[in-house]
Symmetry: C2
């Protein structure tokens, strides 16, 4: 941890999905004024990339997982209009988003395109990473629910993403399950396997998102995701303004002004959220169980409807290793718990 | 971090100052029903020590730093009545508390007596540590604002505490200023200097309280302070239920039942607090500046009254290295900022 090369102001790029991951916390209902206000503040602070969209990414607005207030093109043109220094980013999981969504996003000004896959399914990203490159966007590949794969598996999957054209690759702690030692092992394995910047995206279910992000940077990650006041699904994401203060204290250069990013965080708290994220009992159990943070609301609703304990439901979903997209399982597992209870 | 001895379920004692440090967040206004409800829940969860009192400890209730709703003896007998498994703890900083307060506390059932001093002032604890031992209580010594002293200084001060009779000694990150590497260096130095269990008490201003506590345990600390839902001054303390989950994941034995501690945290959230602590801009700046978390309210009030930016005021107080007890400085520094601004 005292590697002196870290003291020489190595640059760490901060990627800010406040207007995408934060959408999970408000049912994807941010309006154009809210998007514009936050994007303006983040741009002023010097955030490298402002990511925007439905919580589940391009094309994901739907009855089942929630309709966004605004269509993707409106979100993109609104944020684009506010950015003078920051790049604009989009997130897409093939299956929810399509090639058409990708074309439209780049047409509307997306500079950075993230293609996401479950941690062992990098092969599904080939076509869309290729399209992103062909469109001239910066293409990135990320692995969801990455705690479910070993360091070696993740390194191999990241190599595949690079082979498909990704210019940065990395891992998302979708469930907020990692301890710092877990992150260090995985980031080391990935940085040894690829020659592109490595991304880490944390969630705060175990109150370790900032610590895990710092550990990722010290292990060699070059791009860290963080959101204002931690705005995001469940217990929230890595808290942007805190991460900036911590990385700068530790000798890294984020290119972000602390006072301006505090102002952006205040805008986020006042304009975007009902209340800042909290690690409540459900969020904690979700992290312990390793279940996708976005499951919180549906799990609570199903538990209430079926009369089962949401803590039991989360732990059972964790045992069954459910992943994002398998929301159907929630009702099924709840039924099984009820049956077992009789 | 992969030291295999850590995997053998080493016991870590959890000391819970929810009903003492949490008092800072509610102007010391917890009533008997609230104290009893939380103490009952913490006792059921298997928390080792339930600490109770005014936020600043025995004898601190006063006009200047805030009057507690209940006198010390009433708080103590109320909590004592709820405990069947957990010990009861009290905190005292000589100057605020006196020998009489200590006698009364042990008379009313305090098992564990913590005597606190500024990080370089251990010599003021000799008399009260001696009294605690003479009364048959378990005597502990802790150093406040410990980031202001070096590892070697802290080790020397802790040795002095042991010499005075302390049966456990340690450091409080009163300002929430530490990074994990800072904690590791200090805990290592202290564990090498003393033969008694070492205490770590974190605050969450940099979102690192759980990570710092984990680092402290891995560096050899044996007693960790944590409060339900992080209830405490400013950005709050190490979040108890999260710490339990993380330590158990990492192979340590806390003796605490996760479901029961989640229930206790729910009691704390519903019964004790207006809202769980959040790392807002002021709390973050307070941690960056290294200013005592309990200064938040007076700093905000003074900034409003004097028309200065609270962020500037915190940073200026940090530069002047003010410590708990120097609340008078807040107005003085605000005046200086105003004068400089003209």
């Amino acid at each position: 941890m005292d590697d002196s090369t870290h003291q020489q102001r190595r640059h760490v790029l901060i990627h800010d999905p406040t207007l995408r991951d934060g959408h999970h916390a408000v049912g994807h209902q941010l309006d154009a004024d809210q998007l514009h206000a936050y994007a303006t503040a983040a741009n002023a602070a010097g955030v490298a990339v402002v990511e925007v969209g439905h919580g589940n990414g391009l094309g994901a607005s739907s009855l089942q997982i929630g309709r966004a207030k605004l269509p993707d093109p409106v979100m993109l043109t609104t944020v684009r209009d506010a950015l003078t220094r920051s790049k604009m980013g989009v997130f897409m999981a093939p299956g929810w988003g399509t090639a058409d969504d990708l074309h439209a996003a780049v047409h509307h000004g997306a500079d950075v395109v993230r293609i996401a896959a479950h941690c062992t399914e990098a092969d599904i990203t080939e076509r869309h990473l290729g399209i992103a490159r062909d469109l001239g966007a910066e293409a990135q590949g990320v692995l969801l629910m990455s705690h479910m794969a070993s360091p070696d598996q993740l390194a191999a999957q990241c190599s595949l993403l690079v082979q498909f054209g990704a210019q940065a690759v990395g891992i998302m702690d979708s469930a907020g399950h990692y301890l710092p030692a877990d992150v260090i092992g995985r980031i080391h394995a990935i940085t040894e396997a690829v020659d592109v910047p490595v991304i880490f995206h944390g969630h705060n279910n175990l109150s370790l998102a900032v610590a895990n992000s710092l550990a990722a940077v010290e292990a060699g990650a070059g791009i860290i995701d963080a959101t204002a006041r931690g705005f995001g699904a469940g217990a929230g994401n890595t808290q942007l303004e805190v991460l900036v203060a911590v990385l700068e204290r530790r000798g890294f250069d984020t290119g972000i002004d602390l006072r301006q990013v505090l102002a952006a965080a205040d805008v986020a708290e006042e304009r975007l959220m009902k209340a800042p994220p909290v690690i409540d009992s459900i969020a904690l159990v979700s992290g312990v169980a390793g279940v996708f943070s976005g499951f919180k609301q549906p799990v609570l609703e199903t538990a209430r409807r079926e009369g089962v304990d949401p803590v039991d439901l989360f732990l059972a979903l964790g045992e069954r290793q459910v992943v994002a997209g398998q929301e159907d399982m929630i009702g099924e597992v709840a039924q099984q718990l009820k049956a077992a209870d009789r």
